[in-house]
Subunit: 234 residues, 2 copies
DNA sequence: CAGTGGTCTAGACCACATG
DNA sequence: ATGTGGTCTAGACCACTGT
């Protein structure tokens, strides 16, 4: 389609293969013809077939192994993706006006549970920052964050009264690895107060651990306001 | 590295580019040299450079546009991926033994909220299936599902006493599009009863809408047991 | 050992978006 | 109009892994 119409593109091949799988023509566990044969079938190069099958494998439809060949996955291990926008963008996308407020920021020794979670040595210093994010004055997120000072020494001079710790970290340590966990937690008195909820209310919660080349940078606990829903498109 | 050592592989290029970005050598918003120049720099073909940059773009580090070129993304719009395993696999991966139990299954007209959500016509028939998933006799998930009968007529003959509706759907309508939403909800009496929780307890909840070529197939509300955490690696 | 996918090269044409 | 990325070809060598 994109191409001059008479060539077979890798997208055409992807579609055709997907159609065969969906129709049951190529059932789960079936071994596909090898790349060379498919190249003949589709009158194209093996390179083109390779790209099509590689992408389908990455999308979770096929499993490929050298020598063993390519087979249709029986349990279509679908994947969902969601983006992690900056909170300001998220709020503005929803039509709100973003407002940030610092609650507290202080250096302290890492509590035991945090040291264990991040594999810190005993008593290592962390910056404990708590803050709020509002959407047009409605509480949107309460953020409870610890930053490992040894990993980001500049944090000692950082001023979080105007800029949020996440924005600051993105500027300072731009590219890192993230581990995310989602759960439903119960609002304790503190969280309930900040989010303007009754105590005990369910709160959608994210825990976010960030690493820079194997070193722990920060642990953040993000409590979302009432009615928050996280949606993903597959 | 994988290659015979003297050639430059696309993985080498990815690593090098990432290192430059991380080190601040190539700051956010910077325009990269074009593929031809990079090919010379890395002494390889443009094809190889193309693959490296294409993948980095897909991973969210770069933005590429024809004629405009390739630039470093300023707000590292990172993406998280998580897989959607079959619940049996998930439970067994956690070391439990999977057990399934049907609660109820009956055909009925779609309630208004469901008709609105799935864009059904008024009074369209749906199969309402409720069931439980246990991990070694501990409640793991309570599933409340509606299946659009017009979209999957075979559901009228399906027997959900032994096989769960999700497994059945996967077999029957294997490849579909999914829209997922996560939220924290409060256990009502029913959910609390099935999950063996106090009423009002926070429950991690997923809503899953499945489409087959634009047609709504099923809406499922999945309530997870106590302490459920969903973790993703980026 | 042998078959399969993984990757690279060298070159070409093209689609698209910007100036 | 033109430069940039998007893709395809034809051929080659290699890495991995099942038998």
């Amino acid at each position: 389609m994109t191409q001059s119409s008479d060539t077979t593109s890798y997208k055409d091949i992807k579609q055709t293969v997907l159609r065969r799988i969906r129709s049951g023509d190529w059932p789960p566990d079936m071994l596909l013809p090898n790349e060379q044969e498919l190249a003949v079938t589709f009158s194209c190069t093996r390179t083109t077939v390779n790209r099509a099958l590689r992408e389908l494998a990455e999308e979770g439809f096929l499993e490929r192994r050298r020598k063993a060949g390519t087979r249709v996955l029986s349990a279509p291990q679908r994947q969902a993706r969601f983006s992690i926008p900056l909170i300001r963008d998220e709020i503005e996308a929803l039509g709100g006006t973003y407002r940030y407020a610092l609650v507290s920021s202080e250096a302290q020794p890492a509590p035991d549970w945090l040291a264990a979670r991040l594999a810190l040595s005993a008593g290592q210093q962390v910056q404990h920052v708590r803050c709020m994010h509002y959407s047009t004055n409605t509480p949107f997120q309460y953020e409870d964050r610890w930053i490992v000072i040894d990993s980001v020494p500049q944090v000692a001079q950082a001023d979080f009264s105007e800029i949020g710790p996440n924005d600051w970290l993105v500027q300072t340590v731009p590219f890192t690895n993230v581990e995310l966990t989602f759960l439903a937690s119960r609002a304790d008195a503190t969280v309930a107060g900040f989010l303007d909820l009754p105590e005990g209310e369910p709160v959608f919660t994210a825990e976010r651990i960030t690493w820079l080349q194997g070193q722990p940078v920060t642990f953040a606990k993000l409590y979302f306001g009432a009615g928050y829903r996280m949606t993903t498109q597959v």
